[in-house]
Amino acid sequence: MTRRVTGRWRTGAVCALLALAPASGAGAVAGIQDDRLPNLSGAELQERLGLLAGTGTPLTRVDVLWRRVAPTRPTDPRNPDDPAYDWSVYDQIMLGLAARGIRPILDFYGTPPWASTRGGTSAAPPPVHAGMFAGALARRYSGTWRTAGGVLLPEVREIELWNEPNIPLFWRPQCRSGPGRRYVPVAATRYAALADASVREIRAANQDAIVIGGVAGPSGNLDDRGKVCRTGSESVSAGSIIAQLRRNGVRIDAWSQHLYPIGPPARAVFFPGWPTLPRLAPMLDRLRPGMPVYVTETGYHTSYNRYHRYFVTEAQQARWLGETFRLADRTPRVVATVWFNLQDNPRWTGGLLHADLTRKPAWDTFQGIAPATATRTTS
């Protein structure tokens, strides 16, 4: 049985990619994330950092789980040394990455129980609390802060604001039904408030910080036209988030978009994908002309999992990983692309390593690409 796919996403999707200007010459930095890092410590963490360094990656992304750092409410939330904060794992990670010459992008999310009515990790947090935590994070890793033992912590300049606020797994509620059953993207409104507070706090902590907003997941399409909010979980579009950031006058430095294409990277015409990514450009220009784009998550799974529901062979993964980073180089606004993830687990099967740590063919492909991008800059 053969069925042809139709729909609104089709219009001009591939045209956009082919109409891109030639590469700026700088190219994008290639990175990889290891989501196990925050779960380890001591020798295990050091071993794991060695494994990450073995990929040759110059860049990684680290999830800073707010609810883990601040399990109880801090009395002085802007102060990284508030006794409620536990940065021990993250200090080890930052020092270990610095020692190995790997630059981190920090991404904070995960609402602590004390910051939401029901205690859910994906509950939309009070923007002021999230902003003050972002400030504490930026201050601790501003290159001027020392641990209790007197160790100077490295500077981390790139900070992402939350993870996939347009997906109910990470942010609830997404929407409500307005007058005339109009779709009201409440996640965009609340996220813009969080971004506003965070940008101010981060800048106060480190003037050189690059604040990356959006961090939009591969859902919700480019805009919210025609959507209906039935359960409150129907995803908000990237376009709505950008529009709300503009309305609030939020001065983020860069946009982050996550791409998990269905089909080969250059042909995947659903939004968001490499061919459709340039559609964001005119919207981002209204936030700030020429705003750079970080693709802080992309990948292909090599077996079925319930979170992405699309998989390819290991040979395809290796081939399409190469294509992904070549496309990133040819896409002028894209300054960094991070493959997610290092190792398979039951929830995520897009790793370069199987769950038993044996290598997939994509490991070699990544190793052949990433080190050469180390000299590129994202600023």
């Binding site: 591939v14 109409a19 015409v269 319930r306 529901r309 699309y310 998989f311 290991e314």
Partner: protein, 352 residues
Amino acid sequence: MSLLVSGAASATAAPAASFSGWIGIADARLQRDRLVVLDQATLRVREPRAGGARGPVAFTYHRTGTFEVGLNRTRLRFDRAAFTERLAIRSSAGSLAGGRLAADDEDYLVIAGGRAVAPPVVWCCTPDGTEVVVESDGRADAPRVIGGGIDGDRVRLVLRGADGSVILRSSAPGRLADADAPDGSRTDAVLGINPGDGLVDIDRGRMVWSDDPDGGVVWIAVPSDAGPGPAVAVGVPGTVHRLWAAAGGGVVLTRQGLVWRVYRLTPAPSRRLVWAGRQRPVVGVGNGSVAIAEGRRILTSRGGRARRVATARGPVPALTADGDRVAWFERMRRRERNGWTRRTVARLGRVR
């Protein structure tokens, strides 16, 4: 895939539920309160190139997944006229065609088809609607599921390894507190059998298989975590083409010369002819009943020869039965203002 589903939801019971288009139905199951369909498709995506360059950008991917529609209190009518998509498995690794569904009254199991990679197996669903991925291994030498089913609260799968060894893997996805957690109750039993692909099935305390389909031998046993118990061989004339585990034994589709036959088997051992004909029938088995589509004629059997219960208004790509009910699908064409449209319509009837 919501584009696929048509039909307005209605507060009153609907005699039929439909899809727009002729969907590729791999299997279907009637449960106590719903009808589940496993569909499969190859989706071709085509886009014009930029700047008027010749030829489209095109790629293909494959999909299999389930659609569900609820039944009303009589369980002989649908609670609405539209199906809802539940599970979707998508891949560029290769076709996912040839999948099978297993079900009990509440839950079901999707055993995806396909030869390019070991097909995933998904159990649906926890009380909060979460699916559990029972098998998913993308390695080239991963063991492949060749059959299986639901046996009480155990899911039992028969897998063949790259070295030809066959195991019976049992697990309990319905008991997991976390859908992604490893199943501590999982067991593997090495089997001394070698059934062909699709020639092994398990359902509610019965396991049937044939490792000599040309010889017309079907084995019936009671499965357990340790493997099947003592097996009874039942001979059937002709070649075994497909078989189903069923209450009391099994059902087998055979071909001998030009004649197709459906037999009901018991571990007595005995066989009883349900149907014979010269056209390959579409067969559905569930909860002791057998349903057969002979062209457009819908026949059912509770124990003896199959008897006609309805005549479909179009070709029948799939059907299923559950004790005293039968559900079948009709491929319809309807003339509308802008030309002919295709629909796949599901209907319900009583088993005779």
